[in-house]
Symmetry: C2
Subunit: 306 residues, 2 copies
């Protein structure tokens, strides 16, 4: 884990984005959810990431979501926004907005339309973005999520980017699901902040010297992840992580994002939460009921929404 | 092949997009190339597709490229622009622009960030786009390119979209490389215009009842594809296609897009053509020379650029 106080660590939520019936962002529901997350254990908010359906929103919508969130009282200092797009100018504009709002970092997907691109090409893309942003306050957290991007960031590429931009490229979120890759990154790059993208790996990555987690199930269990993070060296840590992993596995068995939407809708009493943007879908009503019942059966409770 | 005169057929080029040293679009070089393509055999231009690096340009850049191309004398009636983005509002805006310019059709990728999405989710996305555009002049050509999008359009989904929007969803570009899939589409949906996305399949798809091709190697060989299209029933057709396929295989062996850029740069004398946007890359100079030599060896010539 990094000793640099400007490098992030802790529990971050890959927040869901609620939408209205016309599929526009529901700004007040998002702000309410973000405040609840911060009040219940999160150090910060990975807004507009994969779970937040960032790429299903246009650039202007994404800029508006960030601006409005800040206006609604969620400080930019708590944001770790997803900014990586296929087009370099879009990534640059989102990154500048994040910096303007005071975000301590950005989570940056590589351009992801072309598959099988070279490490040299990905290096070119990240370099071009960092140079265009041209801000010494910029802290980039690379985003390695091969199951969705189909554009993996190799350990070699990560090393080249750290060497080229040592004050800027300071961390990575690993959503590969491959713990060995996370461990290799931690071991290879001392001081580089490696976050797990999976809720099942918070304790293991802390034991390995990682920085924390930026995860989806955090949308319903910030308190549980907080407890693991604060006590990962303690005797109860294994049991706490096992309970979190069981919850995560249950959620994933119902399809992760719509299952999380179901639980948030239930906790807030706001059915708008159920609705994603196409091409994602809600789970059928009978499945929603089955999920809520299954959560009751394992005695899962979450702090009530305001 | 369709009997409806409003449904396209023929030879379309998936045009490259030239960029300046600062990576901005080079509008005059693009217009010059498009005119050369139309003068030398193309029926129309698949501008801003995969070959044209559409998704590496921001929405505002894409809108500007289409507008400026029209201002520079390339009629909207010759355009079949790529419009499919990850975000529905972007796809809608690009589609409206294409219609405003008089484009007879648009080529529409599905949203491609999330992998493993359901046919229902893709159906939702296409439906939402078509309804938001809400224009009876709209003609959608679906874009099936699993190697890049990693989001295939199943035959069943295509059938559902045709049934739901029979006057709008009128064709498909198949860049799967799987000729059986093209043939299945032609056989399953009479009147539906199936274009090959691969230069090696023009004659086969015409024999199968398809509509033509929208391809990358067309950037350097519109004359050859024209000859195949006009003579696909003739005795020479097999030899013409074999020659085209050999050219295509040679180009692909050097990496398709940068190889095509190399040939266009050589033919126009404008080295700007060599440059793609990251994450794509030019091929090394020695490889460029090797490619041009290999083309000489097979006696490949192309009509001189103006």
């Amino acid at each position: 884990m990094s000793q640099d106080p400007k490098v992030l660590s802790g529990v971050f939520c890959a927040s869901l984005t609620p939408v209205n019936e016309d599929l526009s962002a529901n700004h007040s529901a998002l702000a309410g959810h973000c405040k609840w997350l911060l009040d219940n254990g999160c150090d910060g908010l990975g807004v507009l990431g994969t779970t937040g359906e960032a790429n299903s929103f246009s650039l202007s919508e994404r800029l508006e979501i960030l601006d409005t969130l800040a206006e609604n009282g969620v400080g930019g200092d708590k944001m770790l926004p997803g900014v990586g797009c296929c087009a370099i100018p879009d990534t640059v504009e989102l990154t500048k907005k994040a910096l303007e709002l005071g975000a301590p970092g950005v989570l940056m997907l590589p351009p992801f339309f072309y598959k099988g691109v070279s490490d040299d090409g990905l290096f070119d893309a990240y370099s071009e973005i960092i140079e265009r942003v041209g801000d010494s306050n910029l802290r980039v957290y690379l985003y390695h999520i091969p199951p969705q991007s189909q554009t993996p960031l190799s350990v070699d590429l990560v090393g080249r980017l750290i060497n080229a931009f040592p004050k800027t490229v300071v961390g990575l979120k690993d959503s590969s699901g491959d713990f060995n890759n996370m461990k290799t990154l931690v071991d290879s790059f001392p001081g580089f902040a490696v976050f797990s993208g999976g809720d099942q790996f918070l304790r293991p990555i802390m034991q390995a010297g990682g920085a924390g987690c930026i995860t989806a199930v955090c949308n319903i269990a910030p308190h549980m992840l907080r407890e693991i993070y604060d006590n990962w060296k303690s005797d109860e840590a294994e049991a706490l992580q096992d309970r979190m992993t069981a919850l995560r596995d249950l959620i994933v068995s119902f399809k992760q994002f719509p299952a999380l939407r179901t639980v948030v809708a239930d906790n807030t009493g706001d059915a708008n939460w159920l609705r994603p943007r196409p091409p994602l879908r809600a789970i059928p009503e009978d499945k929603q009921a089955e999920l809520l019942k299954a959560l009751e059966d394992i005695n899962f409770t979450l702090p009530k929404a305001a």
